[in-house]
Every structure is written in structure tokens, then in C-alpha cells.
Symmetry: C2
Subunit: 547 residues, 2 copies
């Protein structure tokens, strides 16, 4: 795998003229903070750089490995905490244990949906800046642009071995595939779980995908044979720069719940294999595990959790898998020089509350929503000897910060592009020095392309509807009112004014540094063994795409 | 204090013919469980009795001291857990630490309001069986009957020294006072915080008690001079069998927020004094601390919490006070042979969400409501060397169980009356043997005199409205849906049927063992220094009471 061409990475990096001397372009709000804290941060950075050098020196000059685990659609509180395990009837002892060995980030903000959060983590940018919003199931001919520079590309350039296993959800075009975005090796589904877990005969019969499967109705008036997605590519595997190959399904075969479960088990097997392979190499590694579980819409034969809901039960299963993975980290002697981070990408799929077993536990709302329930997730990071075990930080962090922070820790900050806005803030000080050292106290929360909320310290403003005056915008105190139900706007017009300043600064930054375009292309290119039914689907799409 | 007459206790005990041979009369639902588990429990009880004997033997033959701390109006999750501290912006390190040293009861059910929960704990009975519902502010001439046998009376009879400090809220008649219900000494307010904290000039001016204070309006059409409660007795102190004496206020003086704060500080001082006094005695002690904080409706000059709400901030203050009390337990060498239990009496006062800083955090609802938010509270119990440190139990427990369990631990089960229904289940096995050893998997939830919900295992049925059929009753799975919002009744008609059986069993037990009457009398008797304004209030009440 090491002998693969790095052409695609070079292409991406070429688009970003790198000069270490130029500062990273940050959002206006960050510059407001830098004006207040720049000197403190600069002197703190000198100490941090010394500390990072010491850590590398103690490890044969190598920066730490990074194992990044991103769980799908789980709201804050639903993993990693025994008390809340008791509330939900879902036991997560492995994740609880990981939490106890590292730092719990108590105010991690993500984007409200899968594609955007993953883009933010990969690029350090609010997805809107890369033209990205949620990638839907079915062909779109869109995805993460090769113009974007991912953390995998940066780390690879710095000498890391890189691999990705599991959900990807960055588009159906060749430039968007993980092995073309910085990963030496990748196993991933082309689309996501709506296709893989909901659009099955079993999900229809379990009452969660009413009417989807053809066996569920006979309708002689239907014309469009592609209204129900048909012949979509499922899981593929690929090496950097190479062609992807679909696995686990034969031409003409129907996708089933059993196949979905087999796919999940395969990814779990592959993450263990990849870890073992990477551990044997000299170079440090960056390994991503982005499981598809807990998403699942069919009851098991026998629930293993007290909760028994079809998401909940798979979350408990996934916890045992995480336990196996972390045991493997230990068994391979990797514990000390490996950063392990685990978090979720956004809140629960509240649409299935009740039967799924996940629920709006503390914060209101979920996936797709700007409410705290949509964008607040559990996040734990372990780095033995560097990050204090059992510590916690109430500081605000955004998922895009991981891009900047991982690059810093790898000694690769100079590879961060300087020709575009980087929203990710360097949070190395928070990791090394602990609570109170975050370099942000704000977050802009988008739903797709629309700015819906602005978070500042303990306050959160929901933006007023178009045409409404600022005084119509409800402002919440997140400590006093985590569910965002009592806006107390009468008391907070002062904060409305302050929030409007923040929105202005954000807009002015965009005006100065316009958004990049989304990647476009022909779907399903670069797949070596397209099934005839996928080929047919692509032809129907292509005949429309050309028009 | 030891030389006080025990007449009142004897009178109460005389009303309950005690014969160790007769079994305790339990509710029908418990007998259903006993029919399934009686043999197991009986053999387990033999081992438990041996273990309790060993514990006493190791402590000069003395049973353990009991320090019982009951916090007012705090919903589950709002104290004792660091993760949730971060959510609320309220730090409770002392209570978190207590939790880590003992057993966390993860499904403690209380009654939904102050008076009923306290009655249930004191008598081991659903308050309805003693005729008790919430005691309102203002004179009522009602309260806990002398016919009821309290845990204090039982422990006193067994040789314990007993004292009570803080909120009592069991009525304004002499027989209901704590020093007439088993406590050697007591300091307590006659009524509760609506009088002491809400009905002040400061609370009106802080926008939480609109229009209450006379300074807030001038209304020449008002006739009734007692519509706004006037001249109520505030805090009193007394010894068993003696007269109470009001303290901290002079005739004609106005009650203020400053006086309320002074009262809280006095109770904190007194609990430390009482602990020191009781530690010096030979006999074991039963000491209750029932603080008035966090209830409070005026902002402090400077908040100490990140939350800053007027309840929230006092909860954080109270945590430091609890820390001082527990440090005193250690300093007096009491740690090893003292059971320390801390819990709340019911959920938050949701009416003040937003400004109070407490909120419907996980469960929906609060004080006065049968929803989980009303009747689920944090509960931690520490008994070094006996209860496993850092343990947790997901078993269902009801606050009335403390009566039966404390009596058992003190070796006083034979003093539990046999002429009435005792709802409290002996949970000694749960404390000694840990999770999975509760002897109940059900709770009946009343609001006042009305049965509103029945809890069984993970299921909860809200009773249908009068006249509605059983199929109209929503049934919830509390793990999958802690907020009781998705009844999934279509899937749960089977459980409706089972719940109706439970209601029948409960009703049949009541028919066989009818409720006792509430204590009645002339308010404010037995107070030696009634202020003229209180005397006047009583006269107005008495002139009506006679009719």
C-alpha cells in the first residue's frame, strides 16, 4: 500500500499555496478573541511546542498515532456515563472506561448531520465553505471536492500511514472517495444507512420503512421505476489512487438486513486488521473507524440491552466492539503513543424515538436540527501521559477544531492551507493544559446552507425568521435551560445586540473569502466491478444529468 | 434531652399492637412477588441477620448511626454527577464524592410533593393511607396524626437518640410536630418556603411573587386582610414533649429574604452542633437534616455557579454545606459506623424554569406531577465496609422503603406496626448484597389522593381519565422514552391488561385495610411565644374553624 501514487494528494496540496509565515485565515470571531488573548496564546504556544517536541523525542522522533472513532447519530449523554446508562437502559462500559482514562469534552459541537460533520472534521471548515450540505441517498454526482485539503492528506504528507474503515458519506463521485482524499486504504459504503438499513424488506416489515419494499404493495399506476432507489452501489474497498471494488453483493442479489449486519461485522473485523497492519509499520498512523451501527431498524432475535430498542441494542453491541478494538490497541503495545478519540457525529434520529430506544435525553432535538440535541455529542480523548486521565472540560469545542489540532500535534500546521478560511481552532492547549484553555467560546450552527443559531459562552440565539427584526430572535441560557424552551428574550435584548455583531463578523469574513464550490462529476466512476443494475441506474441518472 | 418524657411515643406505639410473630401487612402487589420469591428471600434474610449481628458486634453491640439528608425539589441528575454538573453549570463536588463512596440508587421513586414524600419516609406508608396530602401554606389545623408510627419513634424506642433539623412540613397542629413524632430535639419552620422565601418584598421585586407584598399595590377595594397570609409562625425549636418556641423574629417584625438566609445558615450551624452533641453520647443516633435550600427566589449579590439561577446557585452553596457536614462526620470519627443517606424529596419546581436555573433535565415534569420528573430523584447511601463504594443499582426503590429498611438495620423490625398497611419494603438485601436484590419492581404514583400512574419494571401506565376505558391509558417504556412522550399504546395493550390487574390488587388491599384519618386540631397549639400577629391569625381561623 505504501507504493501507491500520491498524485491525488499532491494535486490537492498544490491548490493550497503553503507558506509557514502566513497566518491561517480564521473567522472574524476568532480574530476578536485573538485580539484579546493573542499574547497569552503565543507564549503558551512556545511551551506547547516544547512539550510536543519532548513527546516526539521520547518516541523515537515520531508524533503519536491517531485512532479516530466517529459514531453515528447519538446524542450527548447516551454513551460514556454510567448514570445515564441507567436512565437509558443501555450499558456502554467500554466507552465509559475510555472516558475515565482521558479527557471528556463536555461541550463538543458538531454539525447537525452526518455529511457536514464529517466534512468539518476532514477539512477544518464549516461544510458550507466547501459547498457541502447533506449528501442524500440516490445518485447526486456531487461530493467533497478535490480542492479541499483533508486532515488525512496533511498527515499523509507528514509521513503518516492512513486508513479509513466504515461510513464515509462524502459523495458518489470519484474525487470524493476516501482513497482519493488522503487515505492509503479504505473500506466504505458509497452511500449511507437509509439505503443499507432502512430500504430493506425487513425494515418495511418492522414498520420503520412503510411501503418501501416492492413486496409491500402492488401498484399498476406507478410509472417511475427509480422512485424507489434501485441498484445502488453498496460497500467498496480501495487503495489510494486506485479503483474501488464492490464487495459482499453479487449482480442481481437483493440487499437485506442480514447483509447489513454482515457489513457491520466486516468493518469491525477490518478495523482490527488495519490496526494490526499499521502497528507493524515504522511510520505513525492515522486510522479512522466510522461505524454504521448503532443505526439499524430491525429488532434483533434477542435483545442484549435492557432498553431493547433497535438503535439502543446495537449501541450496546458497538460498545463491546469498541472494547475489543481498545483491547487490541493494548495488545499491540500501542496504548502509550496513540491518541484515541471517540465521539458522535450529531444527535439521534429523533424520528424513530420510542422504538429505536434512543431519545431526546437531555437536550431537545436531534439529527438535522440546530438545537443542542442535534449538535451536542459525547466526545472523549485519551492520550496516556499527556492528557490527564479522568479529566473533563466544559470549554466549547467544534468538530472542525480536530483538523487544526491533529495537524498541530503531528507537527504539520504548516501544511494547513492559507488560501481559505479555516474554522478549526487549534485546541492543543486544551488537551495538554486542561479545562479553561479552549481558544473559542462561540460556534456558528448551520442547518445545511442556512445559519440557524449562534452560540456564545452560555448563551445561544436562534436566528430570527427572514425579515423579522433582531428582537424577535429568542436567546437561551444553555445551563439554565438546556432544552431551549424558555427564551427569556425580554431579559436578553442586550445579548441579541451582541449576537448581531457576531453574525456581521461572520458574514464579513465570508464576503472577503467566498465559499468554494462543491465537487461535481459523474457518479460511480472509479468502481471496477459495477453491477449491471448499478450501471442501469447510472445510465438513467446520466441521461438526465446531461440535460 | 435524654430525660424527656416518652409519653407521646408510647401513645403512638400503643395504638399499634406489636407482635413479632405477625407478618407486616403489605400491599397486594408485594404479596404477588412474595409468592414468587418468598423462599429465596427467607433464606437470604437468615444470612442478612447474621451479617447485621456481626456489624453490631464489631461496634460494641450498637447498630449504626443514621444521618438522613433530604434535599428539597431537585430532579434526578441535578446533583451527584459530574457530567450533569457540566450540563447544568452547577458544581456539586461534595455530593458527587458522597456518591462515589457509596451506592447510587438509580431508580428511587418519591411522592411528587414535599409533605407526601416526607410522610412516606417517616411512616413507611403511602401518605394517602394516613390521610395526608400536601399541606398548604396558611393555617389548616391538620397534620401527621399521632396514630401514625414514625421511624423516629421506632428508633427512639430501640434506644436511638433522635434529632431533626430543617424543613418538616407535616402540619400546623401540635401532634404533627417532630418533637411529638419521635424526635428528642427539633428545629424546624412551622410551614414551608412559599411563606419563607416567596412571600417577601424581595421575591416580589425579583419578579417571582407578583403582587404579593403590600408595598406592590394600593387597592382600596380589597376586603379580606388575610387573603395574603399574615403573621404566620416562622421557625421554632423544641424538645420532645415540650412546647415549641419561635426564634429569629420579634413581634411586629417583617419577614425578609435576609431572615430566610439567616434561617438557612442557622440550620446548617445547628446540624453541625447536633452531630457533635449526638457523637458524644453512648447511644446510636438518628439525625435528620432537611435543608430549605436550594429553594430561594432572589438572586444573590454575586452568583457562585456558572448557572447563576436562584435555585441553582443555592444548590451549589448547599453542596459546600453538605461537604462541611460530611467533613464533620469524619472529624468526629463517625464515618465507619454511620449510614449517610442523601436524596431529594421530589422533582424541581418547574414553574420557575429558566430563572431558577433548575430545569426538566432528563425526565419530564416536576413537583406535584406523577411524571418521572416529579417522582424520580437522586439518592446516595454510604455505609463504609458494608455498602460497596462506587456501586450503583438500577432496581426500583420507593422512599417508603427507607422506613422498613432503617428499622431492620436497627434491629427494630418488630416495632413496625401490624395493624395497618406498610408500603415500605425491606431493602436491606439491596444495600448489603447490591444491585438486583430489590424486593419491588413496582410503584404506585399518587398526586394527592388520586392514583395517577402505575410503574412496573420498565413500563409505566398513566391511568385513564375517569370513565375512559383501559385501552385509553397510555403506557410508556421508561428506558426508551424517559420523557413519557411516546406511549406506543398500540403495542402495549397487553401491558394495559397487566396494569389493570395491579390496580385491582391495590384497590382490594385498600378495601381490606381502609385509610387512617388525617390528624386534626387547633393550629399553633404548643407554641410558647406566639407573636400577637400569629395569635390574631389563629383567632380569625378559629372563628371559621368552629363553624
Amino acid at each position: 500500500m505504501k507504493n501507491l501514487s500520491a498524485l491525488s494528494i499532491a494535486a490537492a496540496l498544490l491548490s493550497a499555496p503553503i507558506m509557514a509565515q502566513e497566518p491561517i485565515i480564521h473567522d472574524g470571531e476568532f480574530e476578536y478573541l485573538r485580539a484579546q488573548y493573542g499574547d497569552v496564546w503565543d507564549s503558551q504556544d512556545v511551551e506547547i511546542e516544547e512539550k510536543l517536541s519532548e513527546i516526539r523525542a521520547a518516541n523515537n522522533g515520531k508524533p503519536p498515532n491517531i485512532l479516530y472513532i466517529l459514531i453515528d447519530d447519538v446524542s450527548f449523554g447516551q454513551m460514556g456515563n454510567r448514570t445515564l446508562n441507567y436512565v437509558t437502559g443501555i450499558d456502554t462500559p467500554s466507552i465509559n472506561n475510555l472516558a475515565s482514562e482521558g479527557l471528556s469534552l463536555m461541550r463538543m459541537y458538531t454539525e447537525p448531520s452526518c455529511t457536514p460533520t464529517r466534512t468539518a472534521m476532514l477539512t477544518g471548515r464549516h461544510p458550507i465553505r466547501a459547498g457541502v450540505k447533506e449528501v442524500k441517498v440516490a445518485l447526486v454526482g456531487e461530493g467533497l471536492s478535490s480542492e479541499e485539503v483533508t486532515i488525512a492528506e496533511i498527515l499523509k504528507e507528514k509521513g503518516y500511514n492512513t486508513a479509513h474503515v466504515g461510513k464515509w458519506h462524502q459523495g458518489d463521485i470519484e474525487q470524493a472517495y476516501p482513497h482519493n482524499q488522503g487515505f492509503d486504504w479504505a473500506a466504505f459504503p458509497l452511500h449511507q444507512q437509509v439505503q443499507l438499513s432502512l430500504m430493506t424488506r425487513e425494515a418495511m416489515q418492522s414498520n420503520t420503512m412503510l411501503g418501501f419494499h416492492a413486496s409491500g404493495q402492488t401498484n399498476q399506476f406507478a410509472l417511475d421505476q427509480r422512485f424507489k432507489p434501485y441498484g445502488l452501489v453498496t460497500g467498496v474497498e480501495a487503495e489510494a489512487g486506485g479503483e474501488a471494488r464492490e464487495v459482499g453483493i453479487a449482480p442481481g442479489e437483493e440487499w437485506t438486513q442480514a447483509k447489513y449486519e454482515e457489513m457491520n461485522e466486516r468493518y469491525q473485523r477490518q478495523i482490527l486488521e488495519q490496526l494490526e497492519r499499521l502497528a507493524a509499520e515504522d511510520a505513525p498512523f492515522f486510522l479512522q473507524y466510522w461505524p454504521l451501527y448503532p443505526l439499524n431498524f430491525v429488532y434483533p432475535d434477542q435483545a442484549i440491552s435492557r432498553n431493547g430498542g433497535f438503535h439502543a441494542d446495537k449501541l450496546q453491541l458497538l460498545d463491546t466492539w469498541i472494547g475489543d478494538l481498545l483491547a487490541k490497541v493494548d495488545a499491540l503495545g500501542l496504548r502509550d503513543n496513540t491518541i484515541v478519540m471517540l465521539m458522535a457525529d450529531n444527535g439521534l434520529m429523533y424520528h424513530y424515538e420510542g422504538t429505536s430506544g434512543l431519545n431526546q435525553l437531555i437536550y431537545r432535538g436531534g439529527k438535522t436540527q440546530h438545537l443542542e440535541g442535534g449538535v451536542r455529542t459525547d466526545a472523549f480523548i485519551r492520550w496516556p501521559g499527556v492528557i490527564e486521565a479522568g479529566s473533563a472540560a466544559g470549554d466549547i469545542v467544534h468538530v472542525s477544531d480536530l483538523f487544526t489540532t491533529f495537524a498541530r500535534i503531528a507537527g504539520a500546521s504548516d501544511l494547513i492551507p492559507r488560501d481559505r478560511v479555516i474554522d478549526g481552532v487549534d485546541q492543543t492547549a486544551l488537551l495538554l493544559n486542561g479545562e479553561g484553555n479552549s481558544r473559542r467560546d462561540y460556534v456558528y450552527v448551520y442547518e445545511g446552507t442556512v445559519l440557524r443559531s449562534v452560540v456564545k459562552q452560555e448563551f445561544k440565539m436562534h436566528l430570527p425568521a427572514p425579515g423579522q427584526p433582531g428582537a424577535a430572535a429568542p436567546v437561551f441560557n444553555i445551563y439554565r435551560d438546556p432544552r431551549e424552551e424558555n427564551p427569556l428574550v425580554g431579559y436578553s435584548l442586550w445579548s441579541g445586540a451582541s449576537f448581531q455583531d457576531m453574525v456581521k463578523r461572520h458574514q464579513m469574513t465570508i464576503a472577503k473569502h467566498p465559499h468554494f464550490p462543491l465537487g461535481k462529476g459523474v457518479p460511480y466512476e472509479g468502481i471496477s466491478n459495477l453491477r449491471p443494475e448499478s450501471e442501469l441506474t447510472r445510465e438513467v441518472f446520466a441521461s438526465w444529468q446531461k440535460k
